[in-house]
């Protein structure tokens, strides 16, 4: 069973995405902050990471950078979820090393499929 790391501090959102991922057969580990997310990403080496941008402490962009910086061989796919949609946000997120970018609110029914598409996976 593949593990997916979800870095999200909002309980509801975490719940929703977890439902969707479980439904698709993934095991979900959660991090409530950017730092925790980085640690877990490095230690657990999940199949991919769902990174909320709006986090306390270091935000998702920075966390993404740190994860990327720590990777020596192979990189974990990271998709960002954000409710921000300002100018330049997209660039920042992609520049940090995210594979993709989704805006909230997302459809829980289709989100996993969309993630698979972004990271080049077929379900």
């Amino acid at each position: 069973m593949k593990t997916v790391l979800v870095v999200e501090d909002n309980k509801d959102n975490l719940q929703i995405i977890t439902y969707a991922l479980r439904r698709s057969g993934y095991e979900v580990i959660a991090a409530g902050s950017g730092e925790e997310g980085v640690k877990l990403a490095i230690s657990k080496r999940p199949f991919f990471v769902v990174m909320d941008i709006d986090l306390p402490g270091i935000d998702g962009v920075e966390a993404t950078r740190q994860i990327r910086a720590s990777e020596i061989d192979g990189s974990i796919p990271i998709v960002a979820i954000t409710s921000y949609a300002m100018l330049g946000d997209r660039e920042r997120i992609m520049a940090a090393g995210c594979n993709g970018y989704f805006e909230k609110p997302f459809d829980p029914l289709t989100i996993v499929a969309q993630i698979h598409k972004v990271i080049g996976l077929l379900p």
Binding site: N10, D12, N13, Q15, I16, Y19, A20, R23, D54, P77, S83, Y84, A85, M86, L87, R90, E91, M94, A95, N99, G100, Y101, F102, E103, K104, P105, F106, D107, P108, L109, T110, I111, Q114, K117, V118, I119, G120
Partner: protein, 824 residues
């Protein structure tokens, strides 16, 4: 007693003394024998006789001693005296200031000679001893010497005294007075010469000097022409040699006394002289007297005499002494100088006049006057040159007794004046009667003898000629330098006058020009004045305009400042807007995510089964959530667009895919409401903001479906390749829009009242936003055709390609940020 006896015979001859002794001795012998016989007893007779003998000897010895002593004393005295005398003599001899020598007549050698003599002749006494007197005599005096000596020796003369020269040892000549006398020997025969010499070299030298000085004095007098005289009041006059010469008479022939002296003086000056003499004699010091003397040959000489009364120191009769000097030359020189001064003055005054004067007439008059004053000619002519002619313009002096008919015209080169003009050189003639150069007769007829013609020359240009004539043959050439200078001045003056005339002519012409020019200037001035007035007005207007401009500029500046402030504020507002949008975006969406997400999850029975009633409720929740979300999205979109924060998210996509998606979105609803939705498909790669295009199409189709109760919605798509545009038409068969409502259609928050609008959820932002998106982002246009009750057709015309950078950087993975957003 015996002494007395000896003393009593001082100057006796030896014979007498011896006789006296013998007598006395005899007496003694006789008487002593007698006495002895009488007195002395016989026993003693022998001894007495011996004693007597001894006594006799003792007395004799004593007498002898006394006598000898006496003699000796006398001798000593005599010797002493003799020595004294000798010493005295020697001293005199030696110390004499004169040289004394004793010469042996026979040998001619010096026997005795004193130091002075030696000094005089320069030989030492030792040398003198062997010297012959003749050797030290100057050869020239030798003869006389010999003669004198002979006469002396012969007894013809007792002594002689001559001045003669000795030759010193060192070769110098000394002058001496030699006095020679004879010295007789005891026999009364001349045995020696006694020569006394006195060194008179100094005296001789003094005499020479005096003579020389006298000669110098005489010479000096001669050179200075200064003679001296002495007049003693015994009517005796004595003159120095020079004085005789001054008066032209000779010492030998002229009998000099006061009368004869006076006769030498010019008659006119005699009274003055006599007065002068009187004054001198009276002790006055009348100083210098100048007078004339007439030489025997009639020549007049100028004499300057000085004199003084000389008082003898012992109060003897005084006499007059003085000098006389021939000052004839000086007088002549003075006269010459005076003449030169006069000439100078005349020249100067003429020059001054000429410098001040520019009139030819006055110049000629002044020239004439000047010449007459200095030269005193009998006739003067001034010609002015006119080409090859000399025109006589002046002749003078006025009132000349000489008549002359001088032709007013001479040719240049003709006669003396003409020659001067042609050659440019002065021409002098001592006698025109004999001068071949004088070719005309008028002067000769007038009795003229000497003539001078001088050209009036300026810078090698002959302006005229000045001629002067003298009846008495005055030598004009002698004053040539003055005449030439004078004529030069005249020439200059004439030249000036000529120049001035030319200048005057020019001046007259100039005046005419000037008058005309003045007129022109007057006109110009008039124009200029007018111009000035205009210019002033314009300037004033300009000033006002400028002032206004300045005010405007000031206002502008103020406004600009205000604007800057406002700008700042606006920027601030923008910033706040962004902040608002960002936070709104986040804050509003987050709960909606929960609503929509959970309701969806529940609805799909992910968490457990759901019954139909529950499903309905959940559906409601979901629908509301989605609706709310679409409202929020629209609001945020509008905010973004209003804030200018929207950019074209350009990407290439297939239009057909987009249209497919469009159709699929409404498929369910249309089916439920039994409407027909037709979406035309067109394969075309468009390069624009896909999401926004879809958004607008969704909005239009959504409205179409909303307001259609029956029938259907048709979406037509056409591509205009030429203009690069795609036209989308959404036609519905709905209720249509009233004409009066169409104006507000695209405005924000306008909801059109209709029987449907209350049933249908709407934000009032849809069309407003769509229009904004189409225009601002897609760079297209939107329009509507509608009529109430007959449906509507909304038409969008969108360019296939829009400018604007794609905001994505290429990623290794799929980079489309799939929109998870649900549209309402």
């Amino acid at each position: 007693m015996k002494r007395d006896r000896s003393a009593a015979l001082p100057s006796c001859s030896p014979l007498r003394i011896v006789l006296a002794y013998m007598i006395l001795g005899a007496l003694w012998i006789i008487f002593s024998d007698v006495l002895m016989g009488n007195l002395v007893p016989d026993q003693f007779l022998e001894s007495a006789s011996i004693a007597k003998g001894w006594i006799f000897i003792a007395v004799t010895a004593l007498l002898l001693h006394l006598f000898i002593r006496r003699r000796l004393v006398v001798m000593a005295q005599t010797t002493a005296e003799a020595r004294e005398n000798e010493a005295l003599f020697r001293s005199l001899f030696e110390q004499a200031a004169v040289g004394v020598a004793q010469v042996d007549i026979a040998t001619g050698l010096f026997v005795r000679i004193n130091r002075r003599y030696c000094d005089i002749v320069g030989y030492s006494p030792y040398e003198m001893e062997s010297l012959d007197i003749r050797t030290i005599t100057h050869p020239d005096d030798l003869a006389e010497d010999k003669e004198n000596m002979r006469r002396l020796a012969a007894g013809e003369i007792r002594e002689f005294s001559v001045e003669k020269r000795y030759l010193r040892k060192d070769g110098e000549v000394v002058w001496v007075i030699l006095t020679v006398s004879l010295l007789y020997d005891s026999a009364g025969r001349p045995a020696w010469y006694i020569a006394v010499v006195e060194n008179i070299t100094e005296r001789k030298r003094a005499e020479d000097a005096l003579r020389k000085s006298e000669t110098n004095f005489r010479q000096a007098q001669e050179i200075a022409r200064l003679g001296s005289w002495i007049y003693e009041f015994s009517d005796q006059v004595s003159w120095s040699d020079e004085t005789y010469r001054i008066y032209g008479v000779s010492r030998e022939t002229f009998n000099l006394n006061v009368e004869s002296f006076i006769s030498l003086i010019h008659p006119e000056d005699r009274p003055a002289m006599q007065a002068w003499i009187k004054g001198c004699a009276a002790g006055e010091k009348p100083g210098e007297l100048e007078f004339r003397a007439i030489w025997p040959d009639g020549a007049i000489r100028y004499i300057s005499g000085r004199g003084e009364l000389i008082q003898e120191p012992e109060g003897q009769l005084a006499h007059m002494a003085g000098t006389a000097m021939d000052i004839t030359e000086r007088k002549l020189a003075e006269e010459k100088t005076r003449q030169a001064m006069r000439e100078m003055t005349v020249l100067n005054s003429l020059a001054r006049q000429l410098a001040a004067d520019i009139s030819q007439d006055r110049i000629l008059d002044a020239s004439l006057a000047g010449i007459t004053e200095i030269i005193h000619p009998d006739m003067v002519f001034i010609f002015i040159r006119n080409g090859e002619e000399l025109e006589l313009l002046r002749s003078g002096p006025g009132g000349s007794p000489l008549q002359h008919d001088i032709m007013p015209l001479h040719h240049v080169g003709d006669c003396l004046c003409g020659l001067a003009a042609s050659s440019g050189e002065p021409v002098y003639s001592a006698n025109i009667l004999t001068d071949p150069l004088c070719t005309r007769d008028e002067c000769k007829k007038a009795g003229v003898r000497s003539f001078a013609a001088l050209p009036l020359l300026v810078e090698n240009q002959v302006l005229g000629v000045i001629g002067m004539a003298s009846k008495t043959g005055v030598d004009f050439e002698r004053q040539g330098s003055f005449l030439e200078a004078y004529s030069g001045e005249i020439a200059l003056g004439l030249k000036n006058a000529l120049l001035v005339k030319e200048v005057m002519n020019h001046a007259v012409e100039l005046e005419k020009e000037v008058t005309e020019r003045k007129k022109a200037e007057e006109e110009l001035r008039g124009y200029r004045d007018q111009l000035e007035v205009l210019v002033e007005e314009r300037t004033r207007e300009l000033e006002e305009a400028k002032q206004a401009l300045m005010n405007i500029v000031e206002d502008l500046n103020l406004k600009t400042e205000e604007l800057a402030v406002v700008n700042e504020r606006l920027k601030e507002v923008d910033r706040l807007k962004s902040l608002f949008i960002a936070s709104m975006s986040h804050e509003l969406r987050t709960p909606l995510n929960s609503v929509i997400g959970f309701s969806s999850i529940l609805l799909n029975e992910w968490i457990g089964p759901v019954n139909d009633e529950q499903k309905q409720s959940l559906t409601s929740i979901q629908r509301s959530g989605k609706h709310l979300l679409s409202l929020v999205n629209d609001v945020i979109d509008v905010s973004k667009i209003e804030a200018g924060m929207i950019e074209v998210d350009r990407g290439d996509f297939d239009l057909a895919e987009l249209l497919e998606e469009l159709e699929q979105t409404f498929a369910r609803e249309v089916q439920d409401r039994q409407l027909v939705l037709t979406v035309q498909k067109l394969h075309l790669v468009m390069s624009t903001d896909r999401r926004r295009l879809l958004q607008c199409l969704l909005n239009l189709v959504s409205n179409a479906v909303k307001f259609t109760e029956q029938g259907g919605v048709k979406v037509a798509v056409s591509h205009d390749a030429e203009h690069g545009e795609v036209t989308f038409s959404v036609t519905d068969t709905g209720i249509g829009i009233r004409i009066e409502d169409q104006a507000q259609l695209f405005e924000a928050f306008s909801r059109i009242r209709s029987h449907i609008s209350s049933k249908v959820l709407g934000t009032g932002l849809g069309l407003y936003l769509s229009k904004k998106i189409i225009i601002e982002i897609l760079h297209g246009t939107i329009s509507v055709i509608s009529e109430a009750g007959s449906g509507s057709t909304f038409t969008m015309i969108i360019p296939c390609r829009v400018e604007g950078e794609s905001k994505y950087r290429s990623q290794p993975h799929e980079n489309s940020a799939g929109s998870g957003r649900q549209q309402g």
